[in-house]
Amino acid sequence: MPAATREAVAAAVRGLSKRFGSTQALDSVTLSFAAGEVHGLVGENGAGKSTLGKMIGGLYHPDSGEIEIFGSPVRRWDTKRAQDAGVVVIAQELCLVPALSVAQNVFLGRERSTFGVLHPGLVQRYAELEQVCGFGLPADAPVESLSIADQQKVEIMRALARDARIIVMDEPTSSLTADEAARLHEIMRWLRSRGTTVIYVTHFLEDVLENCDRVTVMRDGRVIRTSETATETKSGLVEAMLGEPADVLLPERPPPPSPEADPVVEMREVWSGTAVRGVSLAVRPGEIVGLAGLVGSGRTEIARALFGCDRVDSGEIRFCGRPVGARSPRASISRGMAMIPEDRRGQGLVLLRPTFENVTLPHLRGFSRAGVLARRAERAAVKELIDRLGVRPAQVDGDVSVYSGGNQQKVLFAKWLLGRPEFLILDEPTRGVDVGAKAKIYQLIVDIAASGTAVLLISSELEEVVGLSHRVHLVRQGALIGEVPADTSVDEILQRLFGVGEESRGES
């Protein structure tokens, strides 16, 4: 590790191990992070990246091994001591205080006070920080009123507010759009210029290659290698992560549906609340329709209106040619719709319940007679499905609360594939998912469409939307501002999304 010895070591771990039940999350990890470097940490879902980050940040206690911060070994390590020593973690799962304002969250635990009495001027302090970040979030909005993406920005600002010398960023860009991610990368460079160490956990390998000085690849709780990014390539990293060479290209789209095929689902001039404004769109069997928009543009709200979660104020939704009557998630499901929501843990999974219960939840009527469950049939069906999707661990009664993000996502896919929906809404289906799993999910989406299911795909990764969809609607401020064909360049889409010029209404 020449780099680490050459420069001052900010943080080092030696022989770090951590076991959760039967999972060896970390297996004798030895690694060091140089002062003032941006250090990428990559690996499959479940490789142990977050566990490592949390240990450095004092959230988890190691079973064995030691942690050294600026040369001194730590004992009795917790978040408070870690932060006092200048170590801050932006956790992978959003973790903010909902009722407190943006500024209050940002400076939580770092309030200025005299004898415990708060000083005024929080807003002023916030404005200074905002100068650096340029996220443009209002200081006094309660955090619970922000979108997930905006909350992620709050998380980032919170870390910056601590004047940390070591920041662990665990997938900070997972719900940011490309330009926002770029903004964050700028911030990272600025941090590096001030001598701050950034440990950057992400599944976006290009981002690693572009922004990190060094990168460490992890697999199964072990360090595979640490190297200068200049010497790495994307495929080299992928191979190290997966233990085998792999194809990271987008799969072939299924053939487009015939233009005269009747749409499965149609929205006509739908208005809902303040977020959905006169949306009209249609999806045909076997078709993948993408929604591209900036964060907060209303894509999720369009999906929710469609699925019956939110009230529709005016306009019409048609399913299989007929206007739908009662609207509720339940009614939608019984019509053959399904939705994988953007907030996996909050809206998708029942974390306390095992895998198979999560998968069969919407379909229990099919696994019961007179309300009595046919548990064997239920388990068999789930087993088949999780094997097919490659859920790890492949246990029907696995504890989904500790699954890695990618595997949680697969469980959600399994949940809806079990019902063979005619129409599937995917809201950010690959958020936080590793390259290997991502490829599998892409393949899944394509297969689902190929089997005749209509798919509405929402993703902040524009490459994904344009690479998988047959057509893409551009969304701005709750309205569709145009439609672009498959494989339109990301740059062009961005231009149109930001474009100030008048656009012709997207027709469909």
């Binding site: 306390l352 939840l361 009527r365 504890d399």
Partner: protein, 323 residues
């Protein structure tokens, strides 16, 4: 009670002694207390005494069994005591005024279920938290019970009225049989039916359940209905045992029932739990009571001991819970 429920308790069960202790804390405490009492006095380990303990606490256990479903579903039923009161005075009133003990006793579960449904409807329609809703409804129901009796007690002379509470099948009281059936039913509902699965998922994540097409409100309503029904059944046993209905008969039962549920290890946050746990919780508390009476111990120490035992059980179940 054994077969009644094998729902997964708390997430995953890694091997080892500590996890075992943590998982079966309430059972371990129960066993320890059982052994201690058995060696302390010869009066404890007798068929009559054990049957008595089971019998005496059967009404409470029935309420706790149903309350388990409410808690697992993320709710709280503070009105079971008041429902017990209403049901027991209605049963007595009907028995006296129709002369039919059977009709009277049958009214109790019906009244219970109806009041439980009212709870459920209020909670889901008005979208208010069940803690406060049932606190309020318990005042309303308690008031009703008093109004029905005019504050007096209604003695039932009708022959046969006491059969349910005092009789049994051989040496086994009906109350025990009913509890057993009730626990089996609830365990079955929880583990082997779609309803149980819905209860678990609504308690675990109501939003995810709703997005999975589950009628969250209806599931919640049914748990409160079931809880009311249980309070009514318990009231039928209670009123028959005593032979008279009185408006304050159920006072305090609700807190004991909830305490037993949580003491058993069912999560106060919903989503996980088991019926057998609550039954163990009830009988853990019952053993302390019984022990004090048969050991002729100074009753001044009873509350203190109960508190210490609860703390021990809970501390055990939380043993070395550390990340």
């Amino acid at each position: 009670m054994t077969a009644s429920a094998s729902a997964r308790p708390a997430p995953a069960a890694p091997p080892g002694v500590l996890p075992f202790i943590r998982r079966y804390a309430v059972l371990i405490m129960l066993a320890v207390l059982f052994v201690v009492l058995s060696v302390s006095t010869s009066s404890f380990l007798t068929v009559t005494n054990l049957l008595n303990i089971l019998n005496q606490n059967a009404p409470l256990a029935i309420i706790a069994v149903a309350g388990t479903l409410v808690v697992i579903c993320g709710g709280f039923d503070l009105s079971t005591g008041a429902i017990f009161s209403v049901a027991n005075v209605v049963a007595a009133w009907v028995a006296v005024n129709t002369g039919s003990p059977v009709l009277g006793l049958l009214c109790a579960p019906l009244v219970g279920a109806a009041l439980g449904a009212v709870n459920g409807a209020a909670i889901t329609r008005l979208r208010i938290h069940s803690f406060l809703a049932t606190l309020a409804s318990s005042l309303v129901y308690g008031g009703l019970a008093v109004l029905i009796t005019g504050g007096f007690l209604i003695s039932v002379e009708a022959p046969g009225f006491t059969a349910l509470g005092r009789g049994g099948i051989g040496p086994v009281y009906y109350a025990i049989v009913i509890l057993l059936l009730f626990a089996l039913l609830a365990g079955f509902l929880l583990n082997y039916t779609t309803f149980g699965r819905y209860v678990l998922s609504v308690g675990g994540n109501a939003e995810a359940a709703e997005l999975s097409g589950i009628r969250v409100d209806r599931v919640k309503l049914y748990t409160f209905l079931f809880s009311g029904l249980a309070a009514g059944v318990a009231a039928a046993i209670g009123v028959s045992r005593i032979g008279s209905g009185q408006p304050q008969a159920g006072d305090g039962l609700q807190l004991l029932a909830i305490a037993a549920v949580i003491l058993g290890g069912t999560s106060i946050y919903g989503g996980v739990g088991a019926i057998w746990r609550s039954v163990c919780g009830v009988y853990l508390l019952a053993l302390i009571d019984n022990g004090f009476d048969i050991l002729n111990a100074n009753p001044f120490f009873k509350d203190l001991t109960t508190g210490v035992v609860i703390l021990a059980a809970v501390a055990l179940s939380a043993a070395s819970k550390r990340r």
